[in-house]
Symmetry: C2
């Protein structure tokens, strides 16, 4: 088989460190990968004023997948790099599924005192290309007492239906086969109505999937009080953003949370990234946990059809996490990466 | 002093049961109260088609305060009663501060295994009259593959500044004097910019208040992993809705979460209500915990200047909660109400 062509965007802060470990694991698992690194992020922006040119974007389209570390630096006004780099890639490459497993591995301590691994085992299917992230809105009389700022959530039947269908398919492939729609239909009447109607209509084609609905406030509460309630969740871009951070917390922390920005139609490469940010406060110190990136590499392998390799990486991580319980904490980014690499290779 | 004139809206489901206990406590604390009950909610809607008439709304304006149980019933399409009754009152009576303490009482078990009462002790100041709750938005080509549904968040300098000021004042009156703005400025650029600029500008007038900013996703995570991070939080209507449900979860459950819909300018009566809903599944069975309503009564007393009485009610609840730890669980709604009433009276 031909090599996998992978674009790598280490990005800012700890992004660089964790991506190094992710690539080590990718090599160890024996996947034939050819990587090209893109120095996008704060440094490039300061040097050239460029965030993401059309040329680079077009180049990215040519790869089989993208691995991203983290984007964002205090030297750049908040939102600039997030919107014009990260969100731009998600939107332009039509990553309409933002796939985020929430899974408590055995041996990992959850802040929820009573949670067992079987209680916290879900997948959040977050919409990735519309909703409140559309960037629509405006401002009048900025800086005056009469300022008004609006922010618009844009939801289309096309956009909602495709992610809902994806989620039903995902649920069908799981043991519990339960899909929960999360929205706020009692307040966000127009958007909520479209989501709820689409969900109900598509559900008729999936009689084997049990369905449920939860308002986002209740769902956020249940993540803490009854996480076992959930199997697969489908939700909008903003609610998914919030829920998956709560998910990261209950599953043992943001250092373990992986994600895939997936284009299921494969009209463009999908992008895999840890859920965490660039953490400038600990950057360059070897303190970052590369596990979230390594688990994102497993998702990447799975997406490319290398499910055996993906399983090996996930298994290596699972074993490493049990060791941590036995006192293997306090390792550096490199050491954790090396240990997981050794398990994958051996 | 003249009697307090109180409008009571028991509402639907367990609303009726918990309000009964709240009123018992109110009487026992010796506050001179004259109550008028309004049978608003699902029953009235089915009987008369009326949800909240202008006449009733005008009558409500004449009271010193409102006590509400819960609104909502499965027999009414979702959102109808919420929007045309609950949210209508909040908007029409200009309840621009939705005040929601998140407090872990000693003796109460939190799902966060390691949380101590001193770790979970904050107040969320949620905006109550604009933002994503404005009801703005629309739909085109409903029910077709070309449907588009929008939902607009409307934020005004006037609306943001007044709630931000309230929050700074609130923070100034606390021991820690820390105020955190929660928003999503990196994505919701227009609204986030207005909130952040207003927060920064007003902060200059409060040099004694320590300020912080958190994106809503990170804040939701920190509620679970580091609740001690927060003292007072100010945020928009939707983020506040989500955060306070997470808050209820970490503070021991929705059965204990009180709230006030406050009009600080006193141009109309404020309304106090438990954060929980009407819980139709357990309605009429004496299973509901009236504690959230009783704590809401304490907030009501405090708002009316009866801070001594408010403190007595809160103290009675605190004592009752410690008893529960010692095996006083399993009581009915009435029994809990009676026990707290006895403590308040004696
Ligand atoms: C950095 C930010 C724009 C991003 C988001 O909101 O999607 C992040 O929070 C995430 O969840 O990947
Ligand atoms: C019932 C609903 C409209 C309401 C809200 O979203 O404000 C509730 O969740 C609350 O928090 O009081």
């Amino acid at each position: 088989a031909r090599n996998i062509r992978l674009a790598v965007i280490p990005g800012d802060g700890i992004g660089v460190e964790v991506v190094t470990e992710g690539l080590k694991v990718l090599e160890a698992v024996g996947a034939k990968v050819e990587t090209t690194t893109y120095d996008l992020g704060a440094k490039r922006y300061h040097k050239t004023g460029e965030i993401l040119s059309e040329t680079v974007l077009d180049e990215l389209r040519g790869y089989d997948a993208i691995l991203l570390g983290a984007i964002g630096d205090p030297s750049v006004p908040p939102g600039i790099l997030e919107r014009d780099l990260l969100l731009k890639i998600r939107f332009e490459l039509d990553h309409y599924v933002n796939l985020r497993p929430v899974k408590l591995f055995p041996g990992v301590e959850s802040p929820l005192g009573k949670a067992r691994p079987e209680d916290v085992d879900m997948i959040v299917v977050r919409e990735g290309t519309e909703g409140p992230y559309a960037g629509a809105g405006g401002v009048l009389r900025r800086g005056t007492p009469h300022e008004i700022a609006t922010q618009e959530s844009v939801n289309t039947a096309f956009g909602v239906e495709r992610v809902v269908r994806y989620a039903f398919d995902k649920a069908l492939g799981r043991t519990r086969r339960k899909l929960t729609l999360v929205h706020k239909t009692n307040v966000l009447a127009y958007a909520g109505d479209l989501w709820a109607r689409t969900f109900d209509r598509v559900s008729l084609e999936y009689p084997d999937v049990e369905t449920d609905y939860c308002h986002v406030d209740a769902a956020s509460m249940f993540f803490v009080s009854q996480p076992e309630r959930f199997d697969v969740i489908v939700t909008d871009n903003l609610f998914g953003d919030i829920l998956t951070d709560i998910g990261a917390a209950i599953a043992g922390g943001i250092g373990l949370a992986a994600s895939g920005n997936v284009n299921p139609d494969r009209t463009a490469p999908s992008m895999f990234e840890p859920v965490h940010g660039s953490a400038p406060d600990i950057a360059g110190q070897g303190k970052a946990d590369p596990t979230a990136t390594i688990l994102s590499v497993a998702m990447l392998l799975d997406h490319l059809g290398l499910s055996g390799e993906a399983a090996r990486v996930e298994q290596a991580v699972a074993e490493d996490l049990v060791e941590r319980l036995a006192g293997w904490a306090g390792r550096t980014t490199h050491e954790i990466g090396d240990d997981i690499t050794a398990r994958v290779a051996g």
